[in-house]
Symmetry: C2
Subunit: 244 residues, 2 copies
DNA sequence: GATATTAGTGTCATAAAGCCACTTAATCAA
DNA sequence: TTGATTAAGTGGCTTTATGACACTAATATC
């Protein structure tokens, strides 16, 4: 009988145990046309061939150092976006969610700005497109349990904007306070009081003026950018209630 | 060539792909002797034999309907506790965290009351015991990346008590407001102002008086219990700043 | 140059927390 | 029995951050 850890590992066969299928799935969010959109791909392969799904797939145990790597790799493969907010949300599991067997998927969400993005259709999908989240309500069906996963990611996003500065990740690098407010309003699904909003954001020191202005058909607005604090999201002392 | 999903599944072999080892690990917290404690087991088997670790292990694809089931099963196996707060925290992954190969573990935390608990040592562990979390600082080493997992669970707990009623799950079914306040103070690691605390808790309607009193060497205190709301944790409108 | 439009501010009201001294109800020691 | 001690519980003022909303400011357009 072997006794040391080395002996143990020499005789260890990963397939002696029944392992679940383990994958990563991802809700990539952006704001387009005044609405929250999520990226969907039409599956090219069985199972659930022809159905719309969240991008995702197997871990590449050679390329990926961690699940975060897998998620970031998927994001780059589909959008070309390298830097953005990527966050683990939750895991989903069970015998029935995938017909291939007992499976686990680790769900991620990513927030990206809708600028200069060309969606990349690779061999794994027939089609790829942005879809407004509110249109995936009851009518549209998604592959596997992806609607539940999308819901969890959407809920996480909605809950986080109550007390963090997360939504700045959905905007391009420079933006006006009004644009930021509109983004908050889209996510909160209700209007936000202008003065409260500006006071809150400006007193938190998460933004700084770029010096430039954005001019339009009316009074020009100051442009702001995020102060670099290693991706830390500011926590507000109170939640944003929003006007009723 | 096969074409239908049925044909695809017939020919599908789960071991054609390199799957990561997937497990569940759990930080089971309780309050003992005025300190936050976590349950540790001494590993009986390779790898990391003889090291202290968080309880956890493989998914039983026959018994467990989901990872939540796996986590709850582990909790019952070690403590006998069936009803409690169990929450998924995060996943940890990589090639190096377990010498057996690329692995993923889904970390859970559980909050239980320290009453009538007999720890159950099964074949999988040599020893099982409560350990104050602050004693696992820099000195003590844990198996695998379990110290990082424990940290993540501890952080999640600390962040959640800022705005939720979660800590009630660490107390027995009946308790006084002072006991609850002490629990908050242990978790926040700073004193809490009595009046503010009581106002906050009482106006939130998460508790109700049992009618009974707890008598001690001084003025007796009212006993409270959690109002049953299907385990929902109340969200406070502001965070608890705590006295400085 | 008047008007429309959006940016941005002044100021008071409100809600929930902080602060801290006070009262209350019990035990304990003499 | 009474006064000291202790912990439970309250009164009431202060502080902080948000809500409400009317106001001023700067630009384009007609």
């Amino acid at each position: 009988m072997s006794n040391t850890e080395k002996d143990f590992l020499t005789n260890y066969n990963i397939h002696d145990y029944e392992l679940p299928l383990t994958t990563v799935d991802m809700a990539i969010f952006t704001i387009r046309d005044e609405a929250l959109n999520v990226l969907l791909v039409k599956r090219n392969q069985h199972p659930a061939k022809g159905k719309w799904a969240l991008p995702g797939g197997f871990i590449d145990t050679h390329k990926d150092k961690s699940l975060d790597d897998t998620a970031k790799r998927k994001l780059v493969e589909k959008t070309g976006v390298k830097i953005s907010h990527v966050e683990q949300v939750a895991s989903f599991s069970g015998k029935k969610r995938d017909p291939r067997g007992w499976s686990v998927t680790i769900a991620y969400m990513a927030l990206i700005a809708d600028e200069h993005i060309k969606l990349i259709k690779d061999e794994s999908s027939e089609e790829i497109q942005w879809m407004p989240v509110h249109q995936i309500g009851k009518k549209m069906s998604l592959a596997f349990d992806h609607k539940g996963i999308l819901n969890a990611c959407h809920e996480r996003l909605k809950s986080k904007i109550q007390y963090t500065s997360l939504p700045v990740n959905l905007l391009p690098s420079e933006f006006t306070l009004s644009e930021l407010q509109t983004t908050f309003e889209i996510l909160l699904e209700k209007p936000v009081e202008k003065k409260s909003f500006r006071r809150r954001i400006l007193s938190s020191d998460i933004l700084e003026e770029t010096g430039a202005m954005k001019s339009g058909p009316s009074r020009p607005a100051k442009l702001y950018q995020v102060v670099n604090k290693e991706g830390k999201n500011y926590l507000f002392p109170r939640t944003l209630e929003g006007s009723r």
